[in-house]
């Protein structure tokens, strides 16, 4: 059972490494989004500091979300997904593997990068740590929920945009608790409560989402 | 010469961290880059030479 998960992770990671441009590009998208806002909003430092948690979390969310359409699309297009569905292992486990691999190449690097961008917004050091932590905790839930959306929109033309439509509303709780944690830390309250809610979302998401996504995939293949 | 001592020089009138941070990273980058380029050049030469030798051998022994 764990072997099938780890094989899937290994394969997906290898594919991801085969095109390092992808990984880099998710990160740069994050950087660019985080840099667009100040340009649109204007350069006042105080205003920007207030905005920072929201902007960075929205950026992380959009960056994750951008890489979702390809979670299953490649496998679908070239027929691999059919083969996976026909393999004698539970499809849910393979989806779990794919979700974990997706997190490793999106959520994890985003969490590492976020504090650097936080500096641009002049966030205090404490808040930077909380920012990284909250993104680390929250992104697995994003990958999991995203997998459901990616499964449901698979093979639909314009799936990419439809996908955002389905997934972003489900991302809102993660966004609220995530940005909330950083806000709380900036304003001197402890971020603990928010972080534990985030952790709960992630555990729930990872336990439940792969199976829902697997069901969606089976429908897409019919 | 307006530095009274070496530690004065390092301190840079209180801005040592900034000045040395700037010069240090620049120096580091300008050492690292050529080093990487040279290393890659060597690696490429070796790899290509190996490949070409293998090809030459294949051609000689049909």
């Amino acid at each position: 059972m764990f072997r099938i998960v780890s094989h899937t992770i290994a394969r997906d990671l290898r594919l991801a490494l085969r095109r390092p441009a992808d990984l880099a590009s998710v990160l740069f998208f994050f950087i660019i989004v985080a840099s667009l806002f100040p340009l649109g909003v204007g350069p006042e430092v105080d205003l920007l500091r207030q905005l920072a948690p929201g902007v960075l979390w929205v950026g992380a969310l959009l960056a994750t979300q951008l890489s979702l359409p390809r979670l299953f699309a490649d496998d679908y297009r070239d027929g691999t997904l059919e083969q996976l569905a026909l393999s004698p292992n539970p499809l849910g486990l393979m989806v779990l593997g794919k979700v974990i691999a997706h997190w490793l190449v999106s959520g994890l690097p985003l969490a590492l990068l976020a504090p650097v961008l936080g500096l641009q917004f002049d966030l205090p050091t404490d808040a930077l740590w909380v920012l990284a932590g909250s993104i680390l905790l929250g992104t697995p839930a994003l990958s999991g929920i995203g997998a459901i959306g990616a499964g449901l929109t698979l093979g639909l033309r314009g799936g990419g945009v439809l996908l955002s439509l389905l997934v972003l509303p489900l991302y809102i709780p993660v966004l609220i608790f995530g940005a909330g944690a950083v806000d709380a830390s900036v304003s001197g309250l402890g971020p603990g409560a928010h972080l534990s809610l985030l952790a709960a979302l992630t555990v729930g998401g990872l336990a439940f989402a792969p199976w829902a996504a697997a069901a969606a995939l089976k429908i897409a293949l019919e | 010469m307006h530095w009274n001592s070496f530690s004065d020089f390092i301190a840079m009138g209180g801005h040592g961290l900034y000045v040395w941070g700037a010069f240090g990273v620049t120096a580091l980058a300008m050492i690292l880059e050529p080093w990487l380029v040279i290393r890659r050049h060597r690696a490429v030469r070796e790899r290509l030479a190996r490949q070409l030798r293998a090809e030459a051998r294949l051609e000689q022994a049909p």
Partner: protein, 247 residues
């Protein structure tokens, strides 16, 4: 006649050894300029009465900023030559320059940030010049990412060339941003038309370090282009001879 010479040297097989001979000279020039520049920056230039010793960052900051823009222009020039005349070497030159240009853009940002903290009290402001320099870094990275993502060398040269040419519009924006927008960042203090606004010794320091960086960029780009030439021309007879003879 000119044209013939030009095409002769733009043949990779003649350029490769030529570059090999030139590289040490550029390193030597680099060393000379760098020593002079460093000497001026630390031992000749006086303490600034306003900014204290912190201003010594200027000696790398300005040079790196200039080079980051200049290298982009050169890169775009080569890219355009490649598109127009279909010379193989041009694309290789463009690709060899990009990482060095990105490095200087990064150094400009880094030193600027380290200067900004003591001077303006913040690492970063969203000021037009700073922002456009950041965009320049993104353009370099985009160019590198694009050319790496295409593994057929001919295609990657052409695609990169289009991107480089499109991105050229950013350079005047960076340069004139201080004029167009009223910003925190310093205006141009070196100009050909009016007398330098700063102490001439500082100007010399900046010029020396900028020349050092220029020589450095040429040397590194030549080294890199030699690697690229070898990789791309590995099936030609001259590379075969070159590699099999020596090793």
């Amino acid at each position: 006649m000119r044209m013939i010479h030009w095409f002769k040297f733009s043949a990779p097989s003649t350029f490769y050894p030529l570059a090999g001979k030139l590289i040490p000279w550029f390193w030597a020039l680099f060393a000379g300029f760098a020593l002079a520049g460093l000497w001026i920056s630390f031992f000749v230039a006086p303490t600034d009465f306003q900014q204290g010793e912190g201003y010594r960052i200027i000696f790398i900051h300005v040079g790196a900023s200039w080079m980051s823009m200049f290298i982009y222009l050169v890169m775009a020039f080569w890219a355009g030559m490649g598109l127009a005349f279909n010379t193989r070497l041009s694309g290789m030159m463009a690709q060899a320059l990009a990482p060095t240009g990105a490095l200087f853009a990064f150094i400009s940002l880094w030193t600027g940030a380290l200067w900004g903290k003591p001077m303006w009290g913040t690492w970063w402001v969203w000021d037009a010049r700073l922002t456009s320099e950041l965009i320049l870094l993104f353009l370099y990275i985009g160019f590198i990412a694009l050319t790496r993502a295409i593994d057929d060398s001919r295609r990657s040269d052409k695609a990169g060339a289009i991107l480089a040419l499109v991105g050229v519009v950013n350079i005047p924006i960076i340069y004139f941003s201080v004029k167009w927008w009223n910003t925190l960042h310093q205006g141009a203090s070196v100009s050909l038309t009016r007398a330098p606004a700063m102490a001439s010794i500082m100007l010399w320091g900046m010029l020396f370090s900028a020349f050092a960086m220029w020589m450095y960029a040429v040397a590194v780009a030549l080294m890199r282009v030699r690697t690229i030439i070898l990789e791309r021309e590995r099936h030609t007879d001259w590379v075969r001879e070159l590699l099999l003879d020596r090793s």
